[in-house]
């Protein structure tokens, strides 16, 4: 477990900023204590200082997970967000998409969100903007990337993809063994 290098931090922040914009700073310096990002097994964990201290007691090879896993770095040093980060993305998300109850399940099975299932969308969403997907009952379901702008969404036919799926809470079950 080590702190992130500058490059890594940058890559990760760039990724995060697609979803929560400058709200990252709320994650970095929180008024309720100091929190930090740590790299462990190519994965980035977000944890409080207290947990960090506690985690020092555990040997590196035995430590599976600590704090909240935000995602992992690929071999080509790209950052991939995991669904576990949703807890921190959802409250700070700038752009949101709400799916209709009928499409909820489809999304939770890993499918893209179609226009027919789109219940509501934040205005001025740009194309390829990171969005957090909510159910109509405002339960965060996952996140993805807007395939169309808000304006396009109005015009497009019902079967076209509006949001590309990236992660959904269904992964907690589907990828139970790999999620940390």
């Amino acid at each position: 477990m080590r702190p992130l290098t500058e490059e890594e931090t940058k890559v990760m922040f760039e990724k995060l900023s697609k979803y929560i914009g400058d709200n990252i700073k709320l994650l970095v310096d929180r008024p309720d204590g100091s929190y930090c990002f740590r790299l462990h097994n190519e994965r980035v964990y977000y944890m409080s200082e207290k947990i960090l201290k506690l985690a020092t007691n555990i040997s590196r090879d035995k430590l599976v997970s600590v704090g909240t896993c935000f995602g992992k770095f690929t071999k080509s040093i790209k950052f991939r967000l995991h669904i576990t980060a949703l807890d921190f993305l959802a409250p700070y998300a700038k752009f949101k998409v709400w799916v209709k109850p009928g499409q909820e399940q489809s999304f939770l099975y890993g499918n893209h969100v179609l226009k027919s299932g789109l219940g509501r969308i934040t205005e001025n969403t740009m194309q390829y903007q990171g969005v957090v997907v909510y159910s109509m009952t405002d339960v965060p379901l996952g996140f993805g990337v807007a395939a169309k702008t808000t304006q396009e969404c109005r015009r497009v036919d019902p079967m076209s993809i509006v949001v590309f799926h990236q992660a959904d809470v269904g992964e907690f079950i589907r990828n139970e063994d790999t999620l940390t």
Binding site: L4, T9, F13, D22, V28, C36, P101
Partner: protein, 948 residues
Amino acid sequence: MQRLYVGGLSHTITQKDLKDRFGKFGQVEDVELRTRKDDEGVPYKTFSYININITDADLKKCMTVLNKSKWKGGTLQIETAKESFLHRLAEERQTAEQQRLLPPAAEDQKQKMLDSLSKAGVENFTMKAAVPGTEVPGHEDWVVSKFGRVLPVLQLKCQKGSRARTLKYDPSKYSHNIRKLDRPSADQSASDLPTPVSQLTWELQGGDDDISKKRRGEFPAYEPPKRKKSQTDAVNSLKAEGKPRLKQSVDSVALTEAPQHSQPAQMKGPPLTLSDIDSDDEIHRIVAVQSSSHDALQQEEDEDKLEVVGLDYLVTPGRARQQQKGGHGDEEENDYDSADTDELSDSDYEAMFSNVTRLEISLADLQKLAEEFQDTSETTAPSSLSVSEQETKPPKKGTTPEEILAALMEDDSSEEEHDENEEEEEVPKANQTVLTSKAAAASSSSSSSEEDEDEILPAKDAVKAAPPPAPHRAKEEEERQRKANIRRLAAVQQRQKETEENKKLIQGALANLDAPAAGAGKHIVFGSDDDDDDDEEADSDDEQQTTSEIKTPKKTLFQDSQSENEAPGHKNTTTKEKLSGTHLFGGSEEEEDADEEEDGSRFDIRPEFEGRAGHKLMELQSRFGKDERFKMDSRFLEQNEDKEEESEKKKSGTEEEEALEEERKKSLSILQSVLGSSQHTSSSSKTTSKAKTFRDVSALHYDPSREEHAAFETKTEETKKESKAARRKKREEVQKLPEVSKEIYYDVSGDLKAVFGQTKEEEEEDAVAEKEETNWDQEEEKKKEQEEAGEQVEQPTLESSLLSADRGAEKEEASGFKFSFFGDDAETGSGETAEYKIESIQAPKLSWQQDPRFHDSSSDEEEEKGQEEEEKTQSNVIAKIEETPTKTGLFFFYPEDSRLTEGPKLFCRSSQLEEQKEQWEERRTELRQEYRKKHKDARRKLKTSVKS
């Protein structure tokens, strides 16, 4: 009347020829001669139409004789033609007229029959309260058929083989075959209306199954299964009874279901505007049909459903839950409300049931009829059954199917004596007896379900909404419902009482908990010592409280303490005496309270007085003596050793923290670079770090002794003030400089003299006065010039330039510049203006000399005193110039005065505005520089003078 076509005529033939020719066969009424011509106007074809009154025989004759005969160089070709359009129109009109005249006779006949029928009790071809099969009295060929409709008995001729046979067709006998598809003819106005779409599509299949619904994203809202079943039961039972009933049941079902489901948004299509009362299933079906046929339409609707929210959209789970309950978007909630059953008014109800078949049959009528038909033959039985069915219809006015069913059952039971002998009735009755119990349950359940829907509108209303046909039945119903309602209310009251009681209990218990605020907890130990006391206290408790459940030993202990504190009665004193055995240190009650738990360990060495720190504490304690207020306990122990340890720990901790802090800063800087907003984040991080050492600003008090509070002191800006004072002083000093500019004074006076020398001697006195004034004026001006030296107060300089112009430009040179508003001309014109400038002083002098603005402009040390002011003054001067001639006549002016010719030129622009502007701009910069220089010089001079 025949219309003939005659072709192959020669071009020379006239109408008269034709008339004569055909007149032999019949009376020619009209001849229409047509000639076709080609482009050059050469006729190539001639034909005619002839209207002729001719008999068929004559026509034949005519045809044989004339057809294909040669006449005047043409072969005639005769054919019968179609009637002329105009003719036909006229004819049609005529026939129409005739028909209009004719009908009265026919209608008379009809009316007669109607009258006679109505006399026999038939109205609009319906005979109310008549059993099918009864003959209409007075009309042997008319018979009452199903639904009370009067129909004629038909005599049908039947050709069977060689012999003809007449067949009598009695519609009443086939009445059970007749399906009534239309509304009853009783309400004609209603039948004119088209049947609502919802009713037409009632039996439409497809898209109704769950899967297709789900595919559409429509999930049926949760519905208690039992209720649904009862509804379907009602529907099924009613389905068997024919269309009108079905219709009604649909309505009623719709009524009950509407509030449960909020209607889907697609429902807003134009054909479904009446669908407020439609059932959910129906709507789904319609929607399915629509969506299948109009994909585009659906897309549109989808678009409408797509919601776009702002960035500041707040996520509210509470609202969402509500939505979920509705199963649809929030906009449908309005529909939900509007379709509420309980809010239905009477008028709504009536409107709904206006298109439902209803026979107004009084009980007496029914009885009579029943008795009549008790001993009729087998054939009449079905018809009577149908009557009984009709009878049951009217009371079916409840708003829910259960109610309808209940009403039905009641009716049946009340009519049992009338219908006893009908075998067909037996089976349904058996059903009904089974159903009655069900219905009773259903009705009760319906009322309860209403309550569940938090609309505590009693079922009474529903009954009220349905005007009962037979009052006593309704009464029964009402009675039952009222009873149910009373029972319900009683139950609710009881529950309320219970909750209140519970509340009281808890309150009482809590009140005792709250009262002994201080040191209450310590009495737990104390409790074991005095049981008798407990008992006594408990008695008093009983008086206070009605409960017995919450009275735990703990509670009584609390009360003990309370009573001890409140009223130190004899009981308490006894307990104290009891305790006084071990009571050595006890000074007061309070102390006793405080030290209760230490009773046993009173003589133990107190741990807090151990050690070096403890010794210190002990000393402190001894200083305070036994004063309870300053009791030293372990809290006051100094923790030096701990501190040391902690500091060690802290050192390592701080290192870590520093590292973390550094890391955070680093990450923040990276974040800045990523986001591109540098200032924002850094400041926020600072604020957060500050926030850790938060200080309440409102609680801040200024302490002059503290150094850091010096920041709060507002420093008076003395330096500035000084400068101001100095400036003022300077100004005063400057104003006190009177001795300068004597020369100019003389110059001007000399000038004046010269000027006045020209004028008449009478004016000399005036001139003297003027001199003085100009004197003074000049003096002042000079003064100003002196004091401001280089300041660009254009006014005085201008004046001076004007005044001194005739004597040369010495003044101008002195000031270093001359300003002329009119550019180059000013120089030339200034001479003239100077002349009359001085002269004109007399009349308006007061106005401008005492102009406060003028003084201000000179006294104030502002850089540019506005061009407009200067302009004003100048224009003032000019105005004066203009005025003077009219006023003084020949005093200042003489005929052919050059000034009069040149003066007006001053008003005209001599050069282009742009040029002037440019010039002005150039000059302005120069002037400004110059002014600054002079200003500086003047200051320096002043300084030196002050110093000296």
